[in-house]
Symmetry: C2
Subunit: 171 residues, 2 copies
DNA sequence: CTTGGAAAGTCAATAAGACTGACATAAACT
DNA sequence: AGTTTATGTCAGTCTTATTGACTTTCCAAG
């Protein structure tokens, strides 16, 4: 059944429209293109440092959770330790990340950003935040609420708590 | 989620709450994890065919716009022709994509999915749609509307019209 | 105190998917 | 006839990922 998409604000009566295959296909494509936009700005900055997205991700999560252990970062990023290690080694050698032996468990390495690392983190996240802030601002608070609600549902259930629950601290 | 609102937030900043750095940082992380979830299901299927995401993207957009020219696909995907060509060559050799000489412009190749290609496309998009449909369903129509509104804003302005097929209309 | 296993790091080989650069061919446009 | 466009291809490189095997250090249970 082909549907004539009226471009006026959809009435609340159109409650089922959002589940048609066409609507969902549009959502899928928007996720694809939005992710491209989402990474575009940091990618440009990273180029000048000969770093890639992998470095950005590591820097982001070390900044979010200073003292993060390598294993926890592996869980978050969902890559192999060999893959992460190459990135981490670079960042440590370049003086952006500090890897300190754990106090309780001396096998662990707790990761921290150095001042230089924090500077790059800020540069990267400023660029990314700028786009998101603008998007939020243009879309409005209601839309942002819905945006988060849907994203939350798309995230793998096994990760959802780990990602969203910041009250739930790690030992 | 409810935790952030209680502390020292004055009531008048309620409208601005969604623009705090912390809220935006959460949005950034959710985009990262949601994109992982978004691609997880097709990725599993692709493995069994020794194809990757690049093949999925090509198949998706050829299916969406049968007869698409190579140059248009390049614009959509934002990669070099060398990169796309390797993927396209495989898909044509494997009998999933049909590349026909253009009728008006014989330099062009118009791309179509074969029956086999359509079958894989359905398999992949079924898996992906299932997750999105469930997310939409759980989040509700209001949220979906907001989701799309924000995603649209994150997409690069230069791509927005091209992507959304909205050259003639506005919201 | 010995031992099993966990946390981290490393070496090697491999793959996907992207890139640049150079070049070839056919067809359209001027 | 000459130029530009659309496509395709060869060659080389890069980043990020993989699996597999192995080591060192260290915690904890027997």
């Amino acid at each position: 059944m082909q549907r004539n998409r009226i471009s006026q604000q959809p009435a609340r009566s159109e409650q089922l429209l959002f589940l048609t295959d066409d609507q969902i296909r549009q959502g899928i494509e928007m996720m694809f293109f939005a992710y491209r936009g989402f990474t575009a700005d940091p990618d440009l900055i990273l180029e000048t440092y000969t770093y890639g997205r992998a470095h950005h991700r590591a820097i982001h999560f070390i900044n979010r959770t200073p003292g993060l252990a390598v294993n926890d970062l592996l869980d978050i990023l969902g890559v192999t330790k060999q893959s992460l290690n190459r990135v981490l080694r670079q960042l440590v050698n370049d003086g952006l990340v500090d890897s300190r032996i754990g106090k309780q468990d001396r096998r662990q390495r707790n990761l921290f950003l150095t001042d230089v690392g924090e500077k790059l983190e800020r540069e990267l996240s400023d660029a990314q935040r700028k786009r998101i802030r603008k998007a939020y601002s243009n879309a409005g608070p209601e839309a942002v609420h819905g945006f988060r609600k849907v994203l939350e549902q798309i995230i793998d259930p096994s990760l959802r708590d780990k990602v969203l629950n910041r009250a739930n601290e790690k030992r």
